[in-house]
Symmetry: C2
Subunit: 502 residues, 2 copies
């Protein structure tokens, strides 16, 4: 066995903000892993090393204790400490790129030194790694005509914060522990009550399941109900978030055309009668804005009942109706338990709240609850408790009524501005609901190109063709009117008109 | 066309708490859907109906407007309102059970009238609908020896609430909108800093991904990296949450035995060298408590590097080490980007907070972020903002240090109580880490039976055999010591001794 005297541990200088102990630990550990300290060789006695480094012996002892506990060195009383014999090598660092982010690599691609660090994604993983959502957050302030966003500047945060603080102070300790996977029971009660009055849905709190995003509902529904390759009806043009999550879950998406009465149910029944799932934005078709006609709603329910299929009704923003009461949800017609109704508070309050919910048919409560629990446990409790108080004290109803008036004004402002500046360049249908509207381009202009030019002029919009897959959409732009005020809407429309003129 | 005079709408009495308008709407709608009002028949004039019902004509007009907008009736000025012609029937309600919750039905089961409402789950759906987690929340107060739970009664909720309120009041509006799918950037920074000092992990905030549960990390990892049927190494005995979520994701779980040095990596390499994923509780094996030895950590990393595989390190509670500093995580050795490190605040703070995180290899950041965004968008923001403030102000470090002392006392109390009351009936190994410990039964008693008897005596415990699949576990109980005080621990041990004596 070699002597301690033979050993020279080359100690690099200590970096800023690193403790003596962490530094010494790192240095010796690195020396062992790199082979500079040979397996079996003896380490300096703690006293000697402490003297040499002019640090306390206690620090050295602590480092040796840690290295011993982690298996780098072995101590033999009296004999001192030795580097553990025969440790396997670490993989050579040189083989991998420093901090480069290698993109997804298809498994059959040939390996190159650089790609050796890129992970082979599974076939389904490559689908899963394509999201239609911006993953970097959204810019502030919003510009005309940002889609899919409420006006967050009007949210009563002072009030919300006070409620949150008062309520959480009174939180019973059991609410700090794991809670019901379906979410906070009083909030589920409140949602059931809200749906009864505002959406014509009769359901119990038992059927309400709280999640952090409707995407979770789509994903879990597809996995619970479909095996890979089984069919799901999806509107086309339609919401990319649904189409892509179903595809990533291995479902065979069947594109169903839409018209002024919503999804063409007869086409769907004809094309894929044995589908096990259907996704529909019945209240206001995304992005075309049409309402699913009553006869189609009934036909869809009949099909689902006869074929033992399930319908997902994504009711994303039709609570905002600007003339008369909101139209009843399709779920209000579901007497045979075929509809999973999805709602969200992202647009009624604010997106980063992350509280959405499903109303489940009785027979799906147990499997759905299990699936959510297995794949994500349950949604964060504190925001649910605050939201319940916010609803119970009547603030929710007031806020929604206030926003409805505000957005009605803005919808009108948009149509007026279009009348003033557009002169037939852009056709905006009557706006009766929601936070955005399709606006159709005259002639057959390439709406992707128009959206690009508009963006260069500082105008946010989404080309309708972005939502189309096998059934082309009439060329146009999806324009949001909720996130900005009438003045920005007017100037935005003027700027957009200039773009279209050019 | 029949005359209004012919029509008698039988109106049922108005239920408690239902508005006139909602009641009248429901009655006419039901009459139409049930066929009592024939397609094409004319409705009473609004004035006549208002007089007959002694309600305001405005109410009747609003109801007709709503029914018209929803397609139940058609109005022809001057001619009055008519029931829409030829509406499809609703599925017959009689076919389905009222509110009975039908369980999952296997698709090949024969239909019976009752089951006609039960949903056919997919093959994978049946796996997905089996969760190992209690879905109904946990009882309070906790009893000895509740596992897998910190002492929530000691959490400084007053302080937390104050911080939450003050911070959220100052929230910039952009944080109400959709945010970075990886979570709140300052919190990711704080976590990276915490991991550097307490777990020896060098990582950037870029690599930290916030989620609401580690189950999400397991599920998304399996789907991103494995196609159905591909292999994953899982410890056996091991954590059911991991085993079941991998199975539900279609992975072929390969059971790897564990011993006093943790997972048997040589066995695994031998049995399934081409697995694409490995799951390991390196810091403290769940449930057996052994630490993965250094040579096995290095061997595991070497295998992963050579076979282009990924290792999930589930570091669930090893931050609680009761002698010396916490041992470095296996991730601290990962120089080639092979380890997904999983941590959680559920046990450091409180479970219903729902903030967990992954530290991702660079090449997985993009695909992982996309997959989380597609399947659940991002975790609720407000709790993240509060947690960041809680950490930044030093409260987090103080709380963890306080808990570490508290739990060290309780671990000692448990061993002492075992020495006093057990007399060899139960063998509790030295407790150096974590919130629970395995306790081995003498002889070959059936630990499931013992756990059942203990439960009858008011003692919470989990049989070790519950964690075993193909490799039997030494008979014993998993006992938690963190959730209750020394007195309950002592009396609990006495009660458990009586159970074992019997």
């Amino acid at each position: 066995m070699r002597q301690a005297a033979d050993i020279e541990i080359a100690l690099r200088p200590r970096p800023e903000g690193v403790t003596l102990q962490r530094w010494l630990y790192d240095e010796i550990r690195t020396a062992i892993l790199s082979g500079r300290l040979m397996p079996g060789s003896r380490l300096p006695a703690t006293r000697d090393l402490a003297l040499r480094l002019k640090i306390s012996r206690g620090t050295v002892l602590a480092v040796y204790e840690q290295l011993g506990a982690e298996g780098y060195i072995r101590g033999a009383t009296g004999k001192g400490s030795f580097v553990a014999p025969e440790l396997p090598d670490l993989p050579p660092r040189s083989l991998v790129p420093g901090n480069a982010i290698a993109g997804p690599k298809s498994r059959d691609a040939t390996d190159t030194p650089f790609e050796s660090a890129a992970v082979n994604l599974s076939a389904r993983g490559r689908k899963l790694s394509m999201t239609p959502f911006g993953v970097a957050g959204r810019s502030f302030p919003a510009q005309a005509f940002r889609t899919n966003q409420p006006d967050v500047t009007t949210f009563p945060i002072e009030l919300w914060s006070r409620i949150a603080a008062n309520r959480s102070r009174r939180l019973q300790p059991e609410l700090f522990m794991d809670v019901d996977a379906r979410g906070y029971e009083p909030l589920r009660e409140a949602i059931a009550g809200h749906l009864r009055s505002s959406r014509g849905i009769t359901c119990s709190a038992e059927q309400v399941m709280l999640v952090s995003s409707v995407q979770q509902i789509f994903d879990v529904s597809a996995r619970l109900l479909l095996d890979p390759g089984e069919e799901v009806w999806v509107e086309d043009p339609g919401y990319p978030g649904a189409h892509q999550v179903f595809t990533a879950a291995g479902a065979k998406v069947v594109d169903i055309p839409v018209d002024s009465n919503g999804m063409d149910v007869a086409f769907a029944r004809d094309r894929a009668p044995n589908a096990r799932l259907a996704y529909v934005t019945a209240g206001r078709q995304a992005p075309m804005g049409s309402v699913l006609a009553l006869d189609r709603r009934l036909a869809l329910l009949n099909w689902a009942h006869r074929h033992d299929a399930i319908v997902i009704e994504d009711d994303y923003d039709s609570e905002y109706r600007y003339e008369g009461a909101p139209l009843s949800a399709m779920k209000s017609l579901d007497e045979t338990g075929r509809v999973i109704y999805c709602g969200t508070f992202s647009k009624l309050l604010f997106p980063s709240l992350r509280i959405s919910y499903a109303v489940l048919p009785d027979q799906l409560i147990a499997p759905f609850t299990s699936a959510i629990s297995l794949t994500s446990r349950y949604a964060a409790l504190m925001p649910q408790v605050t939201l319940h108080e916010f609803i119970a004290e009547g603030h929710f109803g007031r806020h929604v009524r206030r926003m409805r008036l505000l957005y009605a004004e803005r919808a009108q402002a948009m149509r007026q501005a279009a009348d003033i500046y557009m002169g037939g360049l852009l056709e905006i249908p009557e706006i009766t609901m929601g936070l955005d509207t399709p606006a159709f381009l005259s002639g057959d202009r390439d709406d992707k190109n128009v959206a690009r030019l508009a963006a260069q002029a500082g105008i946010e919009s989404l080309p309708l063709s972005l939502y189309a897959r096998t059934h082309p959409a009439r060329p146009g732009l999806l324009l949001g009117f909720a996130a900005v005020g009438p003045a920005e809407i007017a100037s935005g429309m003027r700027a957009l008109a200039r773009v279209l003129d050019a």
